[in-house]
Symmetry: C2
Subunit: 440 residues, 2 copies
């Protein structure tokens, strides 16, 4: 028998339970209409694609790169290069799809974007005075990873128009004054999880300047950038980064398949050794990766590689149907909200929501508290689930908010789901009103 | 420009460079006969196997488990259960192939065995006084991972008949007296990397008793256990573990394909929470895994799953050709050593080696120093490479030893490689002799 107290303290941090909650809520209520999981829709998947892409990559290795059959077998089945073997194709994709110029050697192919986050944190943080800044609310994947490594996390408020840069500036000054080093800021600049918000273009420029002045790196995580509802797409921070302030974290989970667990990090910063020698940060990442997962599955890389070569190294065009699908889902969600939460009725007058320009998520604000009891009531009595926003805050925050994810549904289910949500909220407000009257 | 000094200190530890060296030495000298990499041979691999196994797993999901086409698509393409979806099949395999009884819920499917090591260390180590014990010499994967997490590592000598249990007993007492807690001991009990040595059966029993008395867990890593040269196979520590002292770390890299990056950890210990509630250590592992890699690729799991169902959940029988191949390679290596390093000649009289009962590796002892200069001379002038044993020691040790891996060659290449090695060592000894005479 092991004592919980003797295990790493992060394991009793509520954040780590949230990650489990998010992964399992949909399994607990399989019949409910689920606005909970941040999952891509499966209508774009087909088992046949796996062999088609694998074959395309094998052809590419043989015809374009001149590998022999034995070399191809080594490439597909053996332990591989730590930082991956599709870095050249990813480099071309980044230039085409994002206007990011990154040399292949600066790219680390990771086991999903999550491994990229973990490697970045382990590489950059070494002293107890090193601090990670995050926009608040924030994706659990980064705050949880920071907990695993005993890294101090400091929140900066995210407002409707993105990260509050005035607050960021004050926070940076306060940290310096307290003898702390803000080593990195994590953010999703486009259609953030959980809020759906994006950072306006002028703010991106100012953020890069603030980061450079504070000698702080930016971890730019961009899983949703393709899925714009209103264009044009904004330039990524990395494409605007002329001082090497940005580590770009990419994912193929939304643009290809989540189950492959393939992502990448662009770590093109130069590291200066004590004797004046220089090397790429990607080489440091390689040392860490070799001790976490050795290398990313070559089979999974080959499937992504095949998808890239079949699409001339652009996944934006390959995703045009998915882009339209998520746009229509977000449109359907916004229209259903307008319809089922009319301003004309007293119970719904103070229910509000944001209108994201794209992505999977939006946030609703309610005049009542959004807690697990409400979620339980929602799942059991109305067969609709969603995510309480308080899960994405450190400490307090989000008590009256919930996150809707509209990626894993169809417009018909969205319409029905939002009508169920309206019935839940109407009845919960009436119950709470009645209780308040009784208490009065 | 980032300063090396500001990055995590593990990144300048020589151990982390060794991991890179091991991964890349074969790439630097592609023409050399390589006794360096601990890789399985590729003669057992065929691209067709991937689709055969994948199809078999899809049939299993449909016919045995009654999943619909849509459920199968979710299973193959979507984010999956954190601890994996082939845990039931692995549980059956462990009972058949290793006599290990492990409930499916206690099994965590990992991105190779390496992720299992990392998760184990993160879960178990929390205080600066917690110490990891390792047999010395030791696989870099565990000592490197400990460095990443700032965990103190204490070596215990491994002798020709396995870990020195008297020294272990003294070390445990000394650590306790110094206020330190030996939380876990890592070892490969069967055909260890790098030494090829195995722990005799009576010593296994005593080791379990010592661990129980010291309240210390054992991390049993068993990648090579199938590949016996002289039988019978010894029981794994986990199969003898009636007090829950052993976390068993498994790998499919040698019994299936390395490129899938699928391994597993059996963490069936019970954890006692502060309020008296109990749960499995595997559930704690799940929290950590969700923040490292989210889940292990479902496609890769499906390929392993198909291999398992096609072989009635026993990989021992499926590996009988591979077992014979590695046995013949080890036999060929031992015979070539006898032939090319005759006791009758002065230069080779003091060259010795061990005779492992199985696995991929053996260790040679030379009367001259084994350093990088000798390796360079070996690669450039004799076209044969191997690994200096000093890389597997913390601090001093192994200065006169080298590791030969005989897994990635054929008997013909082994014969030629050992004859080249003999020429290298003869000429190096003559050069050093000549220098000693001149100096005299």
């Amino acid at each position: 028998m092991l004592l919980q107290d003797a295990l790493h303290p992060s394991l009793t941090d509520p954040i780590l339970d949230v990650m489990n909650f998010l992964n399992e809520i949909a399994l607990r209520f399989p019949e409910a209409i689920s606005f909970a999981p941040g999952r891509p829709h499966e209508k774009f998947y087909d088992t046949q694609q796996l062999t088609t892409y694998l074959d395309a990559y094998i052809r590419h290795l043989s015809q374009e790169r001149g590998l022999t059959e034995a070399q191809i077998r080594t490439n597909l089945f053996q332990y591989g290069r730590t930082n991956g073997h599709i870095h050249g194709l990813i480099s071309r994709m980044l230039e085409k799809d994002e206007g990011i110029k990154a040399a292949p050697e600066s790219i680390v192919v990771t086991v999903g974007c999550q491994e990229g986050m973990f490697i970045s944190l382990r590489a950059l943080f070494s002293k107890p005075t090193d601090v990670l800044l995050v926009g608040m609310p924030c994706y659990i994947g980064i705050t949880g990873a920071a907990k695993l490594l005993d890294i101090e996390v400091v929140p900066v408020t995210e407002r409707e128009d993105g990260l509050d840069l005035n607050e960021l500036e004050r926070t940076l000054e306060a940290l310096k004054a307290a003898g702390k080093q803000p080593r990195a800021l994590y953010l999703v600049a486009d259609f953030a999880n959980p809020s759906g918000r994006s950072l306006p273009e002028p703010a991106r420029k100012r953020l890069l300047e603030l980061a450079a002045r504070a000698d702080m790196l930016i971890l730019e995580d961009n899983p949703y950038g393709f899925f714009f509802r209103e264009g044009p797409r904004k330039p990524t921070l990395k494409s605007m980064d002329d001082k090497g302030q940005v580590i770009y974290l990419g994912s193929f989970s939304k643009s290809a398949f989540p189950s492959l667990r393939v992502g990448y990090a662009v770590a093109d910063q130069r590291v200066l050794g004590p004797a004046g020698e220089q090397h790429l940060l990607a080489e440091e990442f390689s040392k860490i990766k070799s001790l976490l997962t050795v290398n990313t599955s070559s089979i999974c890389q080959a499937i992504i590689g095949g998808m890239l070569v079949m699409n001339d190294c652009s996944l934006l065009e390959a995703n045009h149907e998915a882009i339209r699908f998520y746009k229509e889902n977000m449109d359907a969600t916004l229209q259903a909200l307008e319809r089922h939460f009319p301003r004309s009725e007293a119970w719904s007058r103070d229910v509000t929501w944001n209108v994201p320009d794209g992505g999977y998520f939006l946030v609703m604000k309610l005049p009542i508290e959004v807690d697990e009891a409400l979620l339980e009531q929602s799942a059991r009595h109305h067969q609709v689930i969603w995510t309480p926003m308080r899960y994405f805050y450190l400490g307090t925050g989000g008590e009256h908010e919930l996150r809707l994810s509209c990626s894993y549904l169809t417009p018909e289910r969205i319409e029905e789901g939002i009508s169920r949500l309206a019935r839940l909220i109407k009845s919960a407000m009436e119950q709470r009103g009645a209780r308040a009257l009784q208490a009065g």
